[in-house]
């Protein structure tokens, strides 16, 4: 649906987007994850036809964003980060105005439907300047959705909302994403993790990583710490563990847990568990440091060799099913904690 090749944008001498290439399929929710100033908004502005790239090519639905800009704009629904609205208009008036600009038919019916969908039906006659931020966001979303676009581009859609509103907007996005292509940007990592089918990590205008949230979590280069708690005899447990290959550096920490670094290429947790149990030591807790998107994000955006790391990481962590199952277990733990 969206196909970008070599997108580059210079503001004067400042490179905001550097040779960015990506694509988004129909019905996919693609996330742009990156720190502020990474080039997310600029990329979106290029996609929506607000500005042209310095070089590179983008097509949406087969239409080129420069040569066939009007067709692209018909296909796309866009909500900028600042949710700009006309304060002196009523909600219904505003939606009517936008519908007419898009030359829609049966405007009144469409407006009722969309207000229902975003939950603003009871405020249809309110002046926009009287609305709260969350409501304005919903009106903005309504404007972006009313023409039932095939592609929805949202710039930081949950910024500034309270937790309840955030959940609502995310639910709405997930629902929309079932039939349409959604491209959203965020710097909230858990959001990207929760909603997106695929995440692109962007830093300083460059694509640093692209994958599903699950895969990205696995791509942490480096080992992860494992914490073990035993009922009795921690010193014996420690020495047993230290005898295992690659675990010579195991130690006892202040919380009276044994900690060691689980190596990158081999998960030794089962081995450790078996060793301890067969030595009749009461193993009561084994916890692995949860690798989350935040770690991946920080690592990838702070590394200087951004281009080189992508390929290497794929090679390291692709076929580790054990890791995957443990990952899922930890994820479910986290989900229940959030609930």
């Amino acid at each position: 649906m969206i196909n970008a090749i070599g997108l580059t944008k210079y503001y004067g001498l400042n490179c905001a987007v550097d040779n960015l290439s990506f694509n988004a399929k129909k019905g996919e929710i693609l996330g742009f994850l990156g720190p502020n100033g990474a080039g997310k908004t600029t990329t979106m502005r290029i996609l929506t036809g607000y500005m042209p790239p310095t070089s590179g090519q983008v097509t949406i639905g087969g239409y080129d964003v420069i040569d066939q800009s009007l067709e692209v704009r018909r296909l796309v629904g866009y909500l900028p980060e600042s949710v700009p609205l006309y304060a002196d208009m009523r909600v219904k008036e505003y939606l009517k105005f936008m519908s007419k600009l898009r030359k829609l038919e049966n405007i009144d019916i469409l407006i009722n439907e969309i207000l229902d969908e975003v939950g603003m039906k009871d405020r249809a006659d309110s002046y926009i300047e009287k609305l709260s931020k969350g409501m304005r966001q919903r009106v903005g979303l309504a404007q972006a959705l009313i023409h039932k676009p095939e592609v929805l581009i949202l710039d930081e859609p949950t910024i500034g909302l309270d937790p309840v509103q955030i959940i609502e907007v995310r639910k709405l996005i997930q629902q929309i994403g079932k039939e349409r292509t959604v491209l959203l940007s965020t710097h909230i990592l858990s959001e990207a993790q929760q909603i997106c089918d695929r995440v692109m990590i962007i830093n300083r205008g460059r694509l640093v990583a692209e994958d599903t949230p699950e895969h990205l979590q696995k791509r942490l280069s480096g080992s992860r710490k494992v914490y073990i708690r035993v009922v009795d005899n921690p010193t014996k447990a420690l020495s047993l563990i230290r005898n295992l290959p690659a675990l010579e550096t195991a130690s006892l920490n202040e919380k009276n847990q044994i900690e060691f670094e689980n190596p990158v290429d081999k998960d030794l947790r089962a081995t450790v568990a078996k060793t301890l149990v067969s030595a009749d030591i009461g193993l009561i807790e084994m916890q692995i440091e949860k690798a989350n998107l935040e770690d991946v994000f920080l690592q990838l955006t702070q590394s200087d060799n951004s281009n080189a790391s992508i390929g290497n990481e794929y090679a390291l962590h692709d076929n580790n099913s054990e890791l995957e199952s443990q990952e899922n277990y930890l994820k479910s733990l986290d989900n229940s904690k959030e609930n």
Partner: protein
Amino acid sequence: MRNLWTIAKKEFESFFHSAIAYVIGVVIFLSLGIYFYILLSYGVRYQSYVPEITLLLDWILFPLFFISVPVLTMRTISDENRTGTLEIIMTAPVKDWELIVGKWLGTYLFFLSILALSWIYPFVLNLMVDPGIDQTMLIAAYFGVSLVTAAMTAIGIFVSSIFKNPIPALLATLGLMILFWIISAPANYTSGFVSKLLDYLSMTGHYYSSFYRGIIDLKDAIYYITLTIFALFLGTRVIEARRWK
């Protein structure tokens, strides 16, 4: 084409939500009313004096429009730019010229409404004076003011598209209009082509030489129409350029 009308209608209606527009409306009609009263009183006292209705146009309406047009056009595009709504319009399937011309049309129609309402004074005067006022002169004068307003509004919209802040837009528009007003002054001190050019460019010159005198001169009308189109063209270019920055 429909977009043009949608935008024009929205812009026209937005003036009725705007405090500035109401203030200006009140000032204009108050001034017109007071001046009309003075004219009538003068006429009543000195029976031979027939109040010239075009005085209303020249002394009240024209100067007030000179100030009102920049004031009301300053925020047309600069506001959209500042609040970010321009981004929404420019990413909607709306052509750049539709935006500019639509904004201009909506604003111009607002001024035309004021002009139309001010007809009440000549109308009343016509009823009171025997055998009636000079209607051709009146029509020509109004026609002229309409054309001048069209041009001034277009310039105002063009300038508004350049700035993000309405205040510089206001000052720049005022400055431009003053420039167009006094530009023919040096014509006396130059000669040949330059002199003719300066003379031609004067906005007020074209009004006072013909419309004011009751003559509808095509060449003067063309001057204003060209100026309007040129300003709107420049405005469209500015909007386009915004994309390419």
